[in-house]
Symmetry: C2
Subunit: 330 residues, 2 copies
């Protein structure tokens, strides 16, 4: 398995098994794949890429990269209320990347394909003189008209988030530089949250008819809520003290208070942020419990009042917090 196969052989040896048994992929022997849905369903399509040196560091285990790539794409489907279906993959890899690496990458995908019930629909493998660029387009299925869009938030809606916020951003810090003094179990938890997000598919599937708008947390809580605000023409106020933080995050903040803003700014959590009428919150809590995921009301939607729609975070004393607006990849 050492060495490097041709691009054709790579598709044959490594990608074809990921498409096995999925009729629409036509065994990857054709020019394209084919999807046929019942008339009652729509196809939801999202695309996300990861670049070495931008979205991940050289030397990361390929199994983990593969699973992260799939999961960040599935997270977008979850935010729309769609059920995962299949994906296409385009790998641009430098000549130095050997078949061993690709075999491990494919094995990560194979594991998560089974976990999430998805299949490879089509793939392309090309050579690049630069760093790896891993691109995926993921497909979900949703009953017609039952998508949750970003544009439906209404004044007086509650703002909710799933799970805990900030673990991804703190986990990046742990994974990259380590955090002296942080308990091993907490370090592992945070790094795991960064490396292996858990797309909230079950919760996302429960939101159509309950939530008015939703997005997944990839740009940070305020960043992604800001997208909802602009799409909906409303503003949002989030109470910093209500933002749910994990025990590991609290432990890291106890070591150094400056981590609090990093956690609140968030990013790469792949939780869901969503809005809903107050009277839907109880039903949402019940649905979330069925999915074994926690949801927390963190704020409210307000009129934009003639200003540009925006998401604001206020601290316990009512002052607007700065420095929590968004998230940039390293």
């Amino acid at each position: 398995m050492a060495g490097r196969s041709s691009e054709f052989d790579r598709i044959d040896s490594f990608l074809k098994p990921l498409a096995a048994g999925f009729q629409g992929a036509l065994g990857l022997v054709d020019d394209a794949g084919v999807l046929t849905l019942p008339a009652s369903e729509s196809l939801v399509v999202t695309t996300d890429a990861m670049v070495e040196g931008v979205h991940y560091l050289a030397g990361e285990p390929p199994e983990r990269l593969a699973r992260k790539l799939l999961r960040v794409n599935l997270s977008d489907l979850a935010a729309m209320g769609a059920a995962p279906y299949c994906y296409t993959l385009t790998l641009a890899l430098p000549p130095a990347v050997e078949d061993d690496w690709l075999a491990a990458f494919v094995s990560g995908l194979a594991n998560d394909q089974a976990a999430f019930g998805v299949h490879l629909l089509g793939g392309d493998s090309v050579s690049t003189p630069g760093p790896p660029v891993l691109s995926m387009t993921a497909f979900g299925r949703v009953d017609n008209g039952r998508m949750v869009l970003r544009s439906g938030a209404q004044p007086s809606d509650a703002v909710l988030v799933s799970g805990t916020v900030g673990d991804g951003a703190l986990g990046l810090q742990v994974a990259r530089d380590g955090v002296p003094g942080l308990d091993n179990a907490h370090s592992r938890f945070l790094a795991g949250r960064y490396h292996q997000p858990d797309p909230r598919i079950c919760l996302g599937r429960a939101l159509p008819g309950l939530a008015t708008a939703a997005a997944d947390l990839s740009d940070g809580l305020m960043g992604d809520l800001g997208h909802i605000c602009r799409a909906s023409g409303v503003s949002a106020v989030v109470d910093a003290d209500r933002v749910p933080l994990s025990a590991a995050a609290l432990s890291m903040i106890a070591l150094e208070p400056r981590w609090r803003k990093v956690a609140l700014a968030g990013g790469d959590d792949y939780e869901l942020v969503f809005t809903a009428p107050r009277d839907a919150v109880a039903a949402i809590r019940a649905a979330a419990a069925e999915c074994a995921v926690q949801v927390t009301v963190v704020g409210r939607i307000v009129e934009a009042e003639g200003r540009s729609p925006e998401a604001r975070m206020v601290d316990a004393d009512g002052t607007i917090m700065n420095g929590v607006a968004g998230w940039q990849h390293f």
Copy 2:
């Protein structure tokens, strides 16, 4: 327009206009796009990437690159008999690529969107420390069960190609190094065939019900016909003298006979190679005439006779030609 916008601003300023008016794209403000087809139709999905230094040379005009990227994807749809519908785009660009470049790239896409009736469904723009990697997933529509696959070729079928073969491979030579002694008009024609392929959508749409198998010419005539042979479990014999060559290609071969094999090996022509029962050839010719494209019978399908399915090219004296098997990008 000099300088470089953030990734968010790039999507807002450059990609959103390409999605304008296409309902499924949701204005690119959501986590994903949504496609709803009539129950009578299937979606055909293909994915293809272009990497600087592998599939094109640095410094090529971005308008032309954009159009080539779209066209090579549409060519895959044509080979399946599908009508072009929409596409997603992932651009991994180095920081040195300025907004001017992106504006020109988008303008190339906008022109071809109008020409081919397609829209941007979703897009992602990411940064890379390496060379540009341009990835596209393209979507076509086809009546259920009316796709033309690679797997349907039958012994005694005729093998046909559209247009002329070899212009792409010779055009690469012209574009990269020039060909001393070759007439200017012929040079321009060949380089144009390489840079700006013409996906055979009209012909592809006419083939369901007539052709038994089809592929587009991206890996070369024998390479792509070989894919059909392996998918169908048959072999093919192509007569070198029947392969249609353009006047420009013949003129280049007249200068140096070694170009003949380069032309016959082909590659990047984005014509269609397809198989059909002999009694369907007249109807195919009539359909091709409606599309203003020439089709030529170049060979026949034969039993694999216990050997591995393969495509063979024979010269006028009946000997099997070597060195025409496939095509590698530079």
